[in-house]
């Protein structure tokens, strides 16, 4: 007789009992009392969850009887998680994500005017509020913003005998050539799946192009955009960028810039923080993003949203919570914890003293956004991340853009 086998049957019985007990317990624990709300937040950094936990504790203390079930989900997994919940009609009461229009189009959201107080609504910066509208009604609540600027490594510039930032595309290419002769990457071009859509938009904007034309129709394969990609493909061909832009992610590029291996790139508001962490001695400067000859510099604005789903029963608690989130003190604390730009007037005022953020806040009024008010944007965004990089390497730019245009316009 093998004694080890005998003893194994005991945990087995325990397991069976445990399963039964769990079944019995959970059957009666599902009472929705109207004062509990579920909130799914995206994970910006490891500070995100502690921030929300603390805020929720404060909220629950200030509003006895109300409670918030928080779930913070990683950006990689949040789409899958939310889709699963929506498909099983278990969408959260409040969601924090980088898109809203698809949910609005499916009639799942409550309009902003039913969700937050008039004071909060009036406090949103107009550009952000406009970018939260679906078919004439505002559904998204602008939550955080970020802009991009041009970063260049002044040590490499000095070494190459270059003075000041480039102001046109031709200068970018020229400078990149001189820097790459030093053995560094001239211009860092991250067109990998992480954030290719951002890099792409910054370049097409610099050539007078955009995702849509002035009438609001999709115009991804416009002549301006084709020309942009051809210019970039030329830079890649000439070895002015890192090899394989199609697979280089932004995070890798930023790290390489922080290490002093890259001459120039389009950096985000959080890049100075990355440099501070990794290589505080790096000498760099920030400038407007150069455009093609004859085009003004432009910048990319990115915004994320909060939204309230139309789940009847606990609207009062949801509204109270969202007003609490947008309380100026609470809101600015989130922004300064996560290093983001404000989407409200009051927070902008409160944050003007932040020297590091100042150039980015200054660029905000001129910023152009992703077309997030269009439901199709989600799949265009996904497709661009996958494919745009191939257009500067092996694929034909026009063909890639034609495919994307087709996908966007659904033809």
């Amino acid at each position: 007789m093998n004694p080890s086998w005998r003893s194994r049957s005991r945990p087995l019985r325990a397991a069976a009992l445990g399963l039964g007990a769990a079944l019995a317990l959970s059957a009666c624990g599902d009472a929705d009392d109207g004062d509990t709300i579920t909130f799914i937040a995206a994970e910006y950094s490891s500070d995100t969850e502690p921030y929300w936990q603390e805020l929720i504790a404060d909220f629950e203390e200030a509003n006895p009887g109300m409670s918030v079930d928080l779930q913070v989900v990683n950006w990689d997994d949040i789409d899958q998680h939310v889709t699963t919940l929506v498909q099983n009609r278990q969408q959260p009461d409040v969601l924090n994500l980088n898109k809203f229009a698809g949910f609005a189009a499916d009639g799942l959201l409550r309009p902003a005017e039913d969700v937050v107080s008039a004071e909060v609504r009036d406090d949103f910066l107009p550009g952000f509020a406009d970018n939260s509208v679906y078919e004439g009604t505002q559904y998204g609540l602008p939550f955080i913003a970020s802009t991009r600027l041009f970063f260049y490594n002044t040590d490499l510039f000095d070494e190459a005998g270059l003075d000041g930032p480039p102001r046109t595309w031709d200068e970018v290419a020229d400078y990149a050539e001189q820097i790459s002769e030093l053995g560094a990457v001239g211009y860092g071009l991250p067109l990998g799946p992480e954030e290719a859509q951002a890099e792409f938009q910054m370049w097409i904007n610099g050539n007078g192009g955009h995702w849509t034309d002035s009438d609001g129709n999709w115009a991804i394969n416009s002549e301006e955009n084709v020309e942009t990609l051809e210019f970039l493909a030329g830079m890649v061909d000439d070895g002015l960028t890192q090899p394989n832009p199609a697979t280089t992610n932004r995070a890798d590029m930023f790290n390489a810039f922080a290490q002093g291996d890259v001459g120039m790139l389009n950096g985000a508001v959080f890049l100075p923080g990355v440099i501070e962490d990794q290589n505080p001695d790096l000498n760099y400067d920030i400038a407007p993003i150069p455009g093609n000859e004859g085009h003004e510099p432009s910048t990319l604005g990115v915004q994320d949203y909060l939204m309230a789903f139309d789940n009847p029963g606990n609207e009062e608690a949801v509204n109270a919570f969202l007003d609490f989130v947008y309380d100026t003190d609470n809101y600015t604390e989130f922004l300064s914890t996560e290093r983001f730009l404000p989407a409200t007037d009051s927070a902008s005022e409160a944050m003007t003293s932040d020297a590091e953020l100042a150039p980015f806040i200054e660029a905000l009024p001129e910023a152009r956004f992703f077309p997030t008010t269009r439901p199709e944007w989600t799949e265009v965004d996904g497709a661009v991340k996958q494919e745009i990089g191939t257009a500067v390497q092996d694929a034909e730019p026009r063909e890639v853009l034609d495919r994307l245009q087709q996908r966007a316009s659904g033809e």
Binding site: A15, A22, L23, A27, Y44, S46, D77, Q80, D277, Q278
Partner: protein, 277 residues
């Protein structure tokens, strides 16, 4: 064979085996060295082989920055009970299909195999709906049932193969000694099948230990989340805390290797140590 040749063979064999160990461990050594680097050394280019300043504190700090204990406890409970359930259910089925011919025997074995064939991502929405209906969202029970059910195939098949390879004559001898079927199974066959049971246990345990997609969907609180889900907190939108992510991942390997070290001896028992001789 001459003595020096046998010696040579042994040396060569040992060298080969140690080389294999080296290759197999290399990525995890790299993980360890990365976990011991301070943040500013992580992205040095070219990278250093060893940390310039050793941050052993990362391994202590990680327990503070995330509820690693809770996550580990959840993982141990979920993986352990899933394993017990799966193997307990697979054992009789495997024995019976190995020893008896009956209608639907092959159908049953194929059916069990089919349960293994679905990509978890494809089923996650359905599993979520199922657990909603059963009221098991955010419970251990949900993950235990799912892990056990979807990992039944390997246990059943490997035990089936094992029981098939154990000569029935041994059991017959036991019957002659006056044992019943069940007694013969428990006293004679099962001890001989221990390496198979151990393999089934290791397989199920490890699969459940590392399960991620279903756990992410079915659990939402640190009270039930396993480590695989918990450590995604180190993956921020812009910056990954590699040192903690790697430290926590290495910590998660230790219990599995310890369990394995404990039951590995049973892999070599079985027939050689058993009653065949």
């Amino acid at each position: 064979m001459t003595v020096p040749a046998a010696m040579m063979r042994k040396v060569l064999l040992t060298a080969c085996a140690w080389l294999v160990a080296l290759v197999v461990l290399a990525p995890y050594v790299q993980m360890l060295l990365t976990a011991l680097k301070p943040h500013e050394e992580l992205f040095a280019s070219p990278p250093g082989y060893l940390p310039e300043s050793w941050q052993f504190g990362n391994f202590l700090e990680v327990w503070r920055v995330a509820p690693i204990w809770e996550y580990l406890r959840n993982t141990v409970l979920i993986a352990g009970l899933s394993t017990v359930l799966a193997v307990a259910v697979a054992l009789p089925a495997a024995y019976y299909t190995a020893r008896r011919r009956f209608r639907g025997r092959r159908m049953f074995l194929l059916l069990v195999l089919v349960t293994q064939m679905f990509a978890p991502t494809a089923l996650v929405i359905g599993i979520h709906r199922e657990m909603l209906a059963l009221g098991l969202i955010d419970t251990y029970a949900a993950l235990i049932l799912v892990n056990a059910a979807f990992n039944l195939a390997f246990s059943t098949w490997i035990l089936h193969a094992y029981f098939s390879s154990i000569p029935v004559e041994l059991e017959e001898a036991a019957w002659l000694d006056g044992c019943g079927t069940l007694q013969a199974l428990l006293r004679v066959t099962l001890p001989l099948a221990v390496p198979g049971v151990v393999t089934a246990v290791i397989f199920t345990f490890i699969t459940a230990w590392n399960e991620f997609v279903v756990a992410l969907t079915l659990t939402s609180t640190p009270e039930t989340q396993p480590l695989t889900v918990g450590i995604t907190a180190f993956i921020g939108q812009y910056e990954v805390q590699w040192q903690y992510l790697f430290a926590a991942s290495l910590i998660a390997i230790v219990p599995v290797v310890a369990l394995f070290a404990y039951i590995e001896r049973f892999l070599v028992s079985g027939l050689t140590a058993g009653s065949v001789k």
